[in-house]
Amino acid sequence: MRLRRTFIGAGLVAALALTGCSGAAPESQPEGGAALTIAKPDGAITTESNNPWVGDSAANRLGYKNVIFEPLAMVNAVGDNETTPWLAEKVEWNDDYTILTVTPRTGVTWNDGEEFTADDVVFSYNLIRNTPALDTGNLQMTDIVKDGENVVLTFAESKFVKQSQVLHIPMVPEHIWADIADPTTETNPEPVGTGPYTLDSFSSQSVTLQARDDYWGGDLAVPTLYYVSYNDNTALTTALANGDADWAQAFIPNVQSAFVDKDPEHNVFWAANVLAPDVLFLNHQKKPFNDLAFRQAVNIVIDRAAHTEIAREKAGPELSSVTGLPTPVGEQYIAPQYEGEDFSMDVEGARTILEDAGYTWASDALIDPDGEPVSFTLEVPQGWNDYVTGISLIADQVTESLGADAKVNTPDADTWWANKRSGNFDAIMHWTDGGTTPYDLYSDTMDGRWLLAGDEVDFNFGRYENPRATELLNTYATAATDEERTTALEEIQSIFVEDVPVIPVGTHPVLGEYNTRNYTGWPSEDDQYATADPVQVTVPLILTKLTPAE
């Protein structure tokens, strides 16, 4: 008797587990005026803070700051990297990008009814200039003046490569913020902005925003936005799959079966390639990566398709161009000599390069020209799963194809972080900053300016030293004409390809999950007017483009 009961129990659990897997398919009848739920996987919202400047305030963490406060202009991280004037009617830079002239848009009102003016623009930028704690872009503004209807901002350095950091500063009303004593601890309980939505209610479980009927940008299809946070990716994936959440930016393993297939007609996953690949930083100060032949050989035996397929679990396209520029967004920058030139695996070619450079093999083990066996260690922090899988694959490929002894080490993130800054490694996988020009990619990987910092560097971790590259990058950032920039960039790319300062491995796209059940007009691979990330400043642009589904 006892035995049978136990079996029934076990059988019941198994049956439940099986039925549970099927899940409930959301209904697919478009609902007019449906709310949109934007979800994040970052854990509970704690206290209300609608401060648009402080990084981890509720408004910033959930991203609803972007639908309340708007910037002067939006720079597209994908597509053509174009600038869309927003609260400005036009933004004009001088030739070397040190002076910005802004014409504020007329007819824009704050959500308390007051008019948006040039004084508000001056005030917002002055606030940043006078509060170093909030100046995360280190803007180096020297002068902010009103010139008739316009506002003229002067900078101590060229802002060509940092345009988005200047233009994306959220505008706040002077009549509210002028009386606030400390903008860093201000919680701003009744946020006044120019944005399309206003804060309706805040609780630690969800934040509700309602559309304005007097928004300067026109009518809004979505009347209500909910911002919700889940405690981890699993819970968020469940919510996206069953329709509790509509829009998110999250890394979902096996996104096809876990999300898209739950409603193939409407669920969309779009990994938008931005100008920021994942690369292997190589230590140029010691063996084996101080040798160009070895860097070249490793560069052409890495299986980038396997990296995308296995390590990134197909969350985004493969990195193809030899220039390291993720495509399609990077195509406009690729130098003519590298157009259409893609990475391809060539084990024979790699072995020839090594042989020519004096490497030999002793029973399959690679021996360098000094007669020592070649070995190195690839390092990333433990728990960073896509990176750990990524370097394990590379280690296997290099060991099998070249005979070098490639090891994998996964220290804790803080140790790794300190080692990477001090240059205490052979090779590490790391991201590059995603800018709206290719400058960040190339500067982060080969610019000598980082090395001026001394023992602790912020980028160029492998201490690649090439005065010509440093000079060209400086030219690109500060030049006064497009021709100069183009020429510089072409030569930078040829150094990057020929000298292999780092090894580009995969793309690091901005992910976005959404559905078209109730609304269409989303950004997508075919219409790259913005990334599909719901916490970017471009969200008002997306929300004004959405239309009810038919």
């Binding site: 899940g23 704690t46 206290t47 305030s57 209610s201 405690n231």
Partner: protein, 331 residues
């Protein structure tokens, strides 16, 4: 009854010292970890924030000034006595007290109620099973033990898949519906109950086994005592023998485990919070640790330490009342 002055004094001294030591460790422990709040922030926003932000973050967090650990330690005590726990780096510089009070009530409410239900249900079931040893009721022991050994996250995911995704009886996550705000209305209370049901039931199911097993085993020992035999021989009703004679004595060790588990309620149950996206102290502490958010970590540690100490005091008092031998340190 004579008041055991020396006993109370020595226990008080012990607790004061423990509190002091705990608070000191709370201060030093977070600072012994590698890394600091700024690099942790940069790691979380990998690639999304440029390295130029580091300088402004240091100023924002107040980490740009060099102050010795000793200075920080003394000002920590000063702040503590003035009731100020500092500002949380990872919550937009919100006061730590407010951050904790946004999570603590949910942990206390849900885990507290679940623990009390589990304790009473488990103890009562254990008593009955022990009383009817060898009967069919014994089958409950392996079943309940099975549920407490199954990994909790798996139990939670199954519960969500079945009762939420498939049957749609309960919401899968959060403490109440999106769009509603805490209020004393029937509607809101209903939401809280609906959202809390699955997490509470799974906690009860997962923790029941321990209480049942402990109580049943104690019952078996107690039932062999002479006074049980005497009570039954006198013809006393079984109900009375079971609850007033056997269970009452068998419950003593259960009570002390209960006092201890009250202390741990405050620590929250992080796996439950993760699976059900339920607000609570456990996830708060994990996030604070990952963000190297010293003020918040200290605040949470302080609450947990105090809760465990208070629970210990309660256990001490309860034992001193129930068992005279523990009071006899005077002799």
């Amino acid at each position: 009854m004579k008041i055991p002055v020396r006993f109370i004094a020595s226990r008080s001294a012990f607790y004061l010292f423990t509190a002091f030591a705990a608070i000191t460790i709370n201060f030093f422990l977070p600072r012994m970890m590698a890394g600091d709040p700024v690099t942790a922030y940069m790691q979380r926003n990998a690639g999304q924030i440029s390295v130029e932000a580091e300088r402004s973050l240091r100023i924002l967090f107040g980490l740009d000034k060099d102050s010795s650990v000793w200075e920080q330690y003394t000002s920590y005590w000063q702040l503590l006595f003035s009731g100020d726990l500092g500002r949380s780096f990872s919550n937009g510089l919100a006061p730590v007290g407010e951050v904790i009070s946004s999570a603590l009530p949910w942990t206390l409410g849900l885990v507290g109620i679940a623990t009390i239900i589990s304790f009473f249900l488990g103890t009562a079931t254990g008593a009955i099973i022990g009383w009817r040893r060898g009967s069919k009721a014994d089958v409950i022991v392996p079943i309940s033990t099975f549920f407490s050994t199954v990994p909790y996250f798996w139990l939670g995911l199954i519960a969500i898949a079945v009762f939420s995704s498939t049957l749609g009886w309960f919401p899968a996550s959060h403490a109440y519906d999106k769009g509603s705000s805490p209020a004393f209305t029937a509607d809101f209370i209903g939401q809280v109950i609906a959202h809390g049901a699955l997490p509470a039931i799974t906690i009860v199911v997962a923790s029941l086994g321990g209480w049942i097993l402990g109580m049943r085993n104690m019952m078996l020992t107690v039932l062999d005592e002479d006074y049980i035999t005497v009570a039954q021989a006198k013809g006393m009703p079984n109900r009375r023998v079971l609850w007033n004679y056997a269970a009452r004595n068998a419950m003593l060790p259960q009570l002390s485990s209960f006092a201890l588990s009250i202390g741990f309620i405050v620590g929250g149950t992080i796996v439950m919070e993760m699976v059900f996206s339920y607000p609570g102290i456990g996830k708060l502490l994990l996030d604070a640790t990952n963000a190297k958010d010293y003020p918040l970590m200290q605040g949470v540690f302080l609450i947990i330490t105090m809760a465990v100490l208070c629970a210990n005091i309660l256990a001490d008092v309860a034992y001193a009342i129930l068992d005279p031998r523990t009071r006899q340190t005077e002799a």
